[in-house]
C-alpha cells in the first residue's frame, strides 16, 4: 500500500542572494548566512562554498561560478531532506526562471521581456519566430540537471519543467500566426490556430523528447508545470491533447504529474478525463486562513476539481497545496493535518493524497520556507497517525 500524504515540493525555492549575485563583491553577511544554513542542513560542501564566496565575484572563473550554482542545488536538496520530504529536486537553483530555462534551449524562440504575473512576481515572455524543436544539447541540459540531483540524494527525485500550453501562452506566436494569416484566416482565427499549432509543436518536438530522455536516465516520475492551463477554457481539449503528447511513449509505472495553480480547474473537464497523467499537484490553500481550518475555506476550484475526477471515475493521485506560498504566516502542523484529512475525505482514498505547497516556494525567504516545509512534514505525520497509520 502506498504511503498516505507523501510530501513533496512543487518546484522552485528562492535562490539565495549569493547564488543570484555571482558577479558581486565578497559580502560577509552572505557568507555568514550561507555558512549558517550549511550547518543547519549539514551540507558537506559548505567549506568549499565559503572559499568561493570569499572571492571577489569579478575574479571568479566560469567554473567557480558554476560550482556555486551546483552547491546551491545541494543546499536545497539538503533543505528538502531536512524537512522530511519524500520526493526532492533542486529548487530550480540552476535555472533562471520557468519560461527562460526552457526557451533558451529552443532555437525558434527569442525573449521579449518580463511582464507582471502578480504582486512582485513576473514572467518572461518570448517571441516564437521559427519552427519549434529542441536539439540534443537542450535535452542533455535537463538530463544532466536530473543526474546531478540523483547523485546527491537517496530520496526519490522528481524533475519538473514548464509545459507546452504555458510556454505558448506566455509567448507571442508570431511565426505560426503569420503562417495562418497567409492561409487566409482572419486575425483572431489566425491567432487561435497559431496557438494550437505552437502548443502541439512544443509537446511533440520539445517536451516529449525531454520527458523520454529523463525516463531513460532513471526518472521514476516527471512533473510538467502548467500554471496557464485554464487561461482559455475553450482550449481544454488542446491542453489535454498536448499533455498526452508530452507523455507519449512513457512506460507504464512511471509517474506522470501535472502541476497547476490559481486556476479555475473544473473548466478542463470533461476533456481532462482523457488525460494520461496520473497525478495532479494543485493549489488548495489560496483562499484559506493560516490560523485555523474550516472546510469551506478550501479553494472552491480545487474542491470542484477533485469532485470532477470522482464524477468521471478517474482515480488520480492528488497533491494538495497545504501551504500558502503568499504569506509569511507559518501554518501549524495541526492546520496542515486538518487540510490533508479533509482532502482525503474528498478524494475518498488517503493513499492517493499527497502534501505539497500551493506552488513553488520561491516567493518566501528561506527562514519562512523551511519552517513551512518542516510543518508540512509534521502535519502529514499527524494526519497519518489520525488514520492509524
Amino acid at each position: 500500500m502506498k504511503k498516505a500524504f507523501a510530501c513533496q515540493e512543487v518546484g522552485s525555492i528562492q535562490r539565495p542572494i549569493w547564488r543570484q549575485q555571482l558577479e558581486a563583491k565578497a559580502n560577509k553577511e552572505w557568507v555568514k548566512s550561507a555558512m549558517d544554513w550549511g550547518e543547519k542542513f549539514n551540507v558537506e560542501e559548505r567549506g568549499e562554498l565559503r572559499q568561493l564566496l570569499e572571492k571577489d565575484g569579478s575574479k571568479r572563473s566560469a567554473g567557480e561560478k558554476q560550482r556555486i550554482v551546483d552547491i546551491a542545488s545541494i543546499y536545497v536538496i539538503r533543505m528538502l531532506e531536512h524537512a522530511g520530504l519524500d520526493r526532492v529536486f533542486n529548487g530550480e537553483q540552476p535555472r533562471t526562471e520557468m519560461y527562460d530555462m526552457l526557451a533558451k534551449q529552443i532555437p525558434g524562440i527569442k525573449t521579449a521581456g518580463f511582464v507582471n504575473s502578480f504582486d512582485a512576481n513576473y514572467f518572461r515572455k518570448g517571441i516564437i519566430d521559427g519552427e519549434i524543436s529542441v536539439n540534443q544539447e537542450g535535452i542533455d541540459w535537463f538530463v544532466d540537471e536530473f543526474r546531478f540531483v540523483q547523485k546527491h540524494t537517496q530520496h526519490a527525485v522528481k524533475p519538473c519543467f514548464t509545459g507546452p500550453y504555458t510556454m505558448v501562452d506566455w509567448s507571442y506566436v508570431e511565426y505560426y500566426r503569420k503562417l495562418n494569416e497567409k492561409k487566409g484566416l482572419k486575425p483572431f482565427a489566425a491567432l487561435r490556430q497559431a496557438r494550437a499549432d505552437a502548443v502541439l509543436g512544443f509537446a511533440r518536438h520539445v517536451l516529449n523528447p525531454i520527458v523520454r530522455a529523463l525516463v531513460k536516465a532513471g526518472a521514476e516520475i516527471v512533473q510538467i508545470d502548467e500554471p496557464a492551463a485554464t487561461t482559455d477554457e475553450s482550449e481544454s481539449a488542446l491542453f489535454t491533447e498536448a499533455m498526452n503528447e508530452c507523455f507519449k511513449g512513457v512506460p507504464k509505472g512511471t509517474g506522470k504529474a501535472i502541476h497547476m495553480c490559481y486556476s479555475n480547474y473544473p473548466v478542463l473537464f470533461p476533456e481532462l478525463a482523457e488525460c494520461k497523467a496520473d497525478s495532479y499537484l494543485i493549489e488548495f490553500t489560496n483562499h484559506a486562513s493560516v490560523s485555523h481550518f474550516k472546510p469551506d475555506m478550501v479553494s472552491p476550484e480545487a474542491y470542484k476539481f477533485i469532485q470532477s475526477f470522482n464524477e468521471y471515475k478517474v482515480p488520480v493521485n492528488m497533491g494538495v497545496g497545504v501551504i500558502d506560498i503568499h504569506s509569511d504566516l507559518v501554518e501549524s502542523p495541526e492546520v496542515i493535518k486538518e487540510r490533508l484529512l479533509h482532502a482525503a475525505k474528498l478524494v475518498g482514498d488517503a493513499s492517493r493524497v499527497q502534501a505539497n505547497p500551493d506552488c513553488g516556494l520561491r516567493t518566501r525567504r528561506w527562514e519562512i520556507a523551511v519552517q513551512k516545509l518542516v510543518n508540512m512534514g509534521r502535519g502529514a505525520q499527524l494526519a497519518r497517525e489520525a488514520l492509524g497509520e
Partner: protein, 326 residues
C-alpha cells in the same frame, strides 16, 4: 465623413521596466526598500507620460504603481477586509485575470464602501492636467470581488460612486479630468453566456457626472456591438470597444467612441499608418460619424515595457496624423 478625432488615450495599465522589476523583486526578498521600487516605477510613469506629449486627449502614467486594478481601492477605501502579513500586498486570494497569465487579489467587501478610509491619490501621480484614471467599472467590480456585506449590486454601485465622488476634489486637484471605467467582465460573461443584466449603470454614471469628470466606460474582450447598449442611455460621455473582438458592421452608437485598437496580443509595434487606416476602416464599417478617441485594447500590461512604450509612441504619431487630417 463627419467623424471627428478627439485624441488618443492610454486605457489600462502598462508594464514596468526591467529596473523597476528588479527592484520590486529585491524588495519582495528583503534586499531593497519598497521606496526604491516606487521611485523606479515613478520614472517609468514619467517616460510613459513623455511619450504622450502630443496627440492625447487625456494622459496617464500607465498606473505602473498599481499591483492590480482593485488593490489601491481595496487598500484605501473603507469597506474592504484588510488581512495578510504584508499590508496591502496581501489582500485576498490570487485569482486569474480573465484569459491572461496576470492575476489579481480578490478583495473581500465586508462593510459599507466609503472614501473615509483614505484617498486614491498616493496611487496616482500628480499630473499637469487632462489626466486619466482607469478604474474598475461597477459591473466588473461586483463580479470579481467577494461579498459578505452587499446583497444588491445597485447598493454596491451607489456606494462605490459616492466614494469616488467624495474623492473627486482631490483627484481634480491632482490633475485628473477623466475617469475611464474598465469593464472586462461584460465581454467575458457575454462569451460564456453568463452576462447578468443589471440596471444600475445609468444611476452610477449620473451621480458621478455631477462631479464634472469626463466619463468613459471601456469593454475589453467584448464584441462592442453587444456591450454598448448596456450604457447607451446612461450619462457616460464615451464608450470604448475592443477592436479585435468587435463586429463593427453591427455597431451602432450615439455616444462618442474610444477605439481599443493597439493590440497587446502582438509584440510587433503597429505603424502609425496602420493604426490610422484601421481606425478609419472600423468607423466606416460601423457607419459612425461622431467623435472618437484611439488607444490600446487595455492590455498593455501583457506587453513588456520597451515594446509597450514603443506602441504608445506609435499611437502618439497616429494621433498627430489624425489631428492633422482634421
Amino acid at each position: 465623413m463627419g467623424m471627428h478625432f478627439m485624441g488618443a488615450m492610454l486605457a489600462g495599465q502598462v508594464s514596468r521596466s526591467a529596473d523597476t522589476i528588479r527592484l520590486h523583486r529585491l524588495a519582495r526578498d528583503g534586499h531593497a526598500k519598497k521606496e526604491e521600487f516606487l521611485a523606479s516605477a515613478s520614472k517609468d510613469a514619467q517616460a510613459i507620460l513623455k511619450a504622450q506629449a502630443q496627440g492625447f486627449a487625456f494622459v496617464s502614467g500607465g498606473q505602473v504603481e498599481w499591483l492590480d486594478l482593485f488593490r489601491p481601492i481595496a487598500a484605501t477605501f473603507a469597506g474592504f477586509e484588510r488581512k495578510g502579513s504584508e499590508g496591502e500586498d496581501a489582500i485576498g486570494p490570487v485569482t486569474r485575470w480573465f484569459r491572461t497569465n496576470t492575476f489579481y487579489r480578490k478583495p473581500h467587501v465586508n462593510k459599507r464602501i466609503s472614501a473615509e478610509g483614505g484617498e486614491l491619490i498616493p496611487f496616482l501621480p500628480k499630473l499637469p492636467g487632462k489626466g486619466l484614471a482607469c478604474l474598475p467599472a461597477p459591473y466588473t467590480f461586483w463580479r470579481l470581488v467577494e461579498h459578505s456585506y452587499y446583497q444588491e449590486p445597485a447598493e454596491f454601485a451607489a456606494d462605490y460612486a459616492a466614494a469616488l465622488a467624495a474623492s473627486a476634489p482631490h483627484l481634480k486637484k491632482h490633475g485628473y479630468d477623466c475617469l475611464l471605467f474598465l469593464n472586462p467582465s461584460v465581454g467575458y460573461d457575454l462569451s460564456r453566456n453568463q452576462f447578468q443584466k443589471l440596471d444600475w449603470a445609468a444611476d452610477f454614471f449620473a451621480s458621478l457626472k455631477k462631479t464634472g469628470f469626463t466619463l468613459g466606460v471601456h469593454f475589453p474582450l467584448a464584441d462592442g456591438s453587444k456591450a454598448l447598449p448596456i450604457v447607451e442611455d446612461s450619462s457616460v460621455d464615451f464608450v470604448g470597444v475592443d477592436c479585435i473582438h468587435t463586429d463593427f458592421a453591427k455597431l451602432h452608437s450615439k455616444k462618442d467612441l474610444f477605439l481599443g485598437l493597439v493590440d497587446a496580443a502582438r509584440i510587433g509595434v503597429e505603424s502609425p499608418a496602420h493604426l490610422t487606416q484601421q481606425a478609419r476602416a472600423c468607423l466606416q464599417e460601423a457607419g459612425f460619424s461622431g467623435n472618437f478617441y484611439l488607444g490600446p485594447n487595455d492590455r498593455l500590461f501583457e506587453v513588456p515595457y520597451e515594446a509597450g512604450l514603443d506602441k504608445v509612441k506609435s499611437l502618439a504619431q497616429a494621433a498627430k496624423q489624425l489631428e492633422a487630417a482634421k
